[in-house]
């Protein structure tokens, strides 16, 4: 690929900001707009931008695709696991009240964990989709 200096410099400047914004949207979703879905997409966009500017191989070195497969499953496991945990602690499935010392603390912890699971799954599935399509074009 022909190196493009302006794209490289701008991407290197923008990618950390995108990742920071994704983390903000992820963990600030309780208070402002956003949540796991949006944060996952934004996080994956940072890596897709890296792949578009610097090429597919360097991007796949950052997160190998077999890791992505496991992460996509891990997010679903976290979400469903919160439900099982609340079941074991004496509540209904996905009733977060029993996760904490009181109702508000339990709900807060449950929502945070569930959103984390959503974010991990969405981010890794988006990257899986992109790498699948873009990797196919390379062959």
């Amino acid at each position: 690929m022909r190196p493009n200096l302006i794209l490289h410099v701008v991407a290197k400047f923008v990618i950390p900001l995108i990742i920071l914004f994704a983390l903000y949207v992820q963990f600030h979703g309780d208070f402002g707009p956003g949540g796991g879905f949006q944060a996952g997409v934004i996080f994956s966009v940072a890596l897709i931008l890296y792949a578009l500017v610097f090429g597919l191989e360097p991007a796949e070195k950052i997160i190998p695709s077999n890791w992505l497969h496991k992460l996509a499953a891990l997010g679903v496991v976290i979400y469903a696991g919160v439900g099982v945990a609340s079941l074991l602690l004496g509540g209904n499935y996905l009733d977060y009240t029993f996760l904490g010392s009181n109702q508000v603390a339990g709900q807060h912890l449950g929502i945070l964990l569930v959103e984390l699971g959503v974010g991990i799954t969405v981010a890794s599935v988006m990257l899986i989709l992109f790498f699948a399509f873009a990797g196919r074009a390379r062959k």
């Binding site: 309780d30 956003g34 469903a80 709900q107 929502i111 959503v118 799954t121 899986i128 699948a132």
Partner: protein
Amino acid sequence: MIDIVINVTLLAFLAITAVAALRLTNLFAIVMLFGIFSLLSAGLFVVMDAPDVAFTEAAVGAGISTVLMLATLALVKRPQKPYYAEAPRTHTPWLPLIVVIITGSALVYGTWDIPGFGAPGAPAQTHVARDYIDNALQETGVPNVVTAVLASYRGFDTLGEVVVVYTAGVAVLLLIGGRRSKAAARTKDKEKPDEA
């Protein structure tokens, strides 16, 4: 007043973008128009005070989908020629036109009974939404009601959505993701020996 101006402008641009996407034959330009369409929709959602939805539409519709469609375009690698120029005309345009006009006027007639946007007496406002707005902060301690509904009250629903996303990823991996098996690659190379 300013809301009406913004709404009319955004909706006019939406209509123009949709018609342009229909009329164009260059797939690259159409993908770009889809991205613009999503961005305009996100603007409309912001005007309607739904920043969470606008956020999703801008990130997914205008961002990721455009990139994925461009990747698909790079995969197929040929400009789509309009196929309808060669297709024989088997029908007159009058019957479809009449059907569309009747259906459209029925739909417009149906909107007359819909309560106005944000009307306090609308069923959407009086049923369960009021309960969420009144109690979500005390019950969950989360100021953003959308997050409280999405992750706590409707936790089952969101679990299903996450499983759907995961299933989509698995399906794409099964269809085009993994390595091509050697037998399949060989037969494909045998079929088209001149294509490298």
